[in-house]
């Protein structure tokens, strides 16, 4: 029998007039989406204010003339056009150098981290959690101290020189280790290593072992298995690490400031000195925004290329 909805012998229900409170309460109980949003709202509003609104103020500030806040604000494009002018060569060079160095660092970190993630995923059977913790500890400990320890190693009267002199390889301490680009690259590679292992490890751990066993049964050697199964299937983790490392390293400040010298200076250093020594905040804002837009473009091109290749592979 079909339920008619109203039990017989009862008065039909008339909706009672409701105040705002009960009406909200009913909506609250009826609508899961709403409850979710109300719960999410404090966090979301905080991030919107601190991230979106602050970005907007930075963009607005980047169009200011360099006179600053005291006199009447004049809007100008000159902070951006300087990138195209001859006198803005420094900014172009530093931007290109920062992108290039960040790319190098990213590649080095992945090459450095892949073997250990592989070993962790496939060859460590006991106490995996322990090893994971041991490997991630450096990532959470003071970035400043980790960078500083490289300065201690590489400087003129530093560890490396004193060891080399002590062993008799060189007679005089060398100055070639510190204050250059390779010092920045080595230091940042080391600083980010602990970070990149985790995503690579996670995607390696997810690989279905029976695929590898099947490949062994079909006579594939280690290298063939690696190229055709392990590496492609671990790509999600690798790409995740690559994107984050690349984005974060373009804007690094501490490492080039401590170990970079002049040839290792990056765009982040110029942004800070525009803010502090030269107190040209509008230009600093414009340089930051150019940097962010460039990073975004590079990442978009990269993602499109990856997507395009995947589509090609899907067709063939």
């Amino acid at each position: 029998m079909v339920n008619s909805g109203k039990p017989p012998g009862q008065r039909p229900m008339t909706p009672r007039p409701m105040g705002l409170g009960p009406r909200f309460r009913r909506l609250w109980h009826a609508n899961e989406n709403l409850r979710g949003y109300v719960l999410l709202m404090p966090t979301l509003l905080f991030v919107v204010a601190m991230l979106l609104v602050s970005m907007v103020t930075l963009v607005v500030q980047s169009f200011w003339g360099s006179v600053g806040a005291d006199s009447a604000i004049q809007y100008t494009l000159s902070n951006y056009t300087i990138f195209l002018e001859p006198k803005g060569e420094m900014y172009r060079v530093l931007l290109a150098r920062s992108l290039w160095m960040s790319l190098l660092i990213t590649v080095m970190v992945v090459l450095f981290c892949y073997p250990i993630a592989y070993v962790l995923a496939f060859h460590v059977r006991k106490h995996k959690i322990f090893w994971l913790i041991v490997i991630t500890i450096p990532f959470w400990t003071s970035y400043l101290l980790r960078v500083f320890s490289w300065k201690v190693i590489l400087q003129h009267d530093g560890v490396l020189n004193s060891v080399l002199v002590g062993l008799g390889f060189i007679d005089e301490p060398l100055d070639i280790f510190l204050h250059n680009r390779s010092a920045v690259i080595v230091t940042l590679t080391h600083a980010w290593a602990a970070f990149a292992i985790l995503p690579i490890y996670v995607s390696l751990e997810k690989i279905d072992r029976s695929l590898l066993e099947a490949a062994i049964d079909l006579g594939d050697g280690f290298m063939r298995r690696f190229w055709r199964i392990t590496l492609p299937l671990s790509m999600p983790g690798v790409l995740g690490a690559v994107l984050l490392l690349f984005i974060r390293n373009v804007g690094d400040y501490v490492t080039p400031a401590l170990v970079g010298g002049i040839s290792g200076t990056m765009l982040g250093n110029i942004i800070v000195s525009l803010f502090t020594d030269m107190s040209n905040e509008p230009l600093a804002a414009a340089v930051s925004i150019v940097m962010m837009v460039t990073i975004t473009l590079v990442v978009c091109v990269f993602v499109l290329l990856i997507g395009g290749r995947k589509r090609l592979r899907g067709v063939t």
Partner: protein
């Protein structure tokens, strides 16, 4: 011919890697016991005097105290924010969940220098605030929320919703349910989040560098001393203490987060 076998190569890679990872960092504690302000081999006499000087250095201890205060408040605030977001995202079908998730994760991805620059103009020009430790703390909350949310989502996802329903059926209200069911079950992740956010805030340099007024946090203060050799031993001593304490805190946090989840 000698063939490379996994049982030989695997531990070798592990050991080599750990040596490279920890080697440079462990130089700091090593030289903190060296009786010289220069960090070269061969080392001089063993001494613990730098630790004594460190304790007596009032400005260093002042900066340490500032950083601890900020880190404690930051870790509590960001864990609350992270918990709310994680709960909303795991318990309710929030429309546009993946977009909102990605948005809240953004502070982790954007280079700190851009965050620092934009927050500087936000606090000073938009809000007209003076730069104080509060501005540093707020910026730290922003970068800690993603960590906290990630950790808590991982815990709350494997959460049996029936337990909360049962609590409501037994007549508990929302607060009692939170207090006596949800919170105890999420506790390992909450503690892990508190500890890790504390560490992130305590170690954070660039945002504090941009946003601190006349009071410096410990990383900012240490950075300003790094170019003066006579101050280095004190920094090495304090740095070694920080390394030890943070290694312990992080191990506990990671154990709470990963080890507990497996049981």
């Amino acid at each position: 011919m000698f063939r490379l076998r996994a049982p030989v190569v695997a531990p070798l890679i592990l050991v080599l890697y750990l040596f490279t990872l920890y080697g440079p960092v462990l130089l700091l504690p090593l030289f903190s016991f060296n009786d010289s302000i220069y960090m070269t081999f061969p080392m001089k006499e063993f001494t613990s005097k730098w630790y004594g000087e460190m304790i007596q250095d009032e400005s260093l201890m002042g900066a340490l105290w500032v950083s601890i205060k900020i880190a404690v408040l930051t870790s509590i605030a960001s864990t609350i924010f992270g918990f709310l977001a994680a709960k909303a995202m795991t318990r309710y079908r929030v429309w546009g969940r993946s977009v909102l998730f990605a948005f809240i994760m953004l502070p982790l991805i954007i280079p700190s220098i851009i965050l620092g620059a934009s927050l500087l103009s936000f606090f000073r020009l938009f809000l007209g605030m003076e730069l104080t430790l509060w501005t540093v703390g707020l910026s730290h909350v922003l970068i800690c929320i993603p960590f906290s949310m990630l950790i808590l989502i991982a815990r709350l996802e494997g959460f049996d919703r029936n337990l909360e329903e049962a609590s409501y059926d037994l007549g508990m209200n929302a607060w009692q349910t939170f207090r006596r069911v949800t919170l105890p079950l999420a506790m390992p992740a909450v503690l892990a989040s508190l500890l890790l956010c504390f560490m992130v805030s305590f170690d954070e340099f660039l945002l504090a560098f941009f946003l601190s007024g006349n009071q410096a946090t410990l990383p900012v203060y240490m950075y300003s001393l790094l170019r003066f050799p006579q101050f280095l031993p004190g920094i090495l001593a304090l740095g070694s203490c920080i390394l030890v304490v943070s290694a312990v805190l992080i191990s506990v946090a990671e154990w709470l987060r990963r080890g507990q989840a497996e049981t």
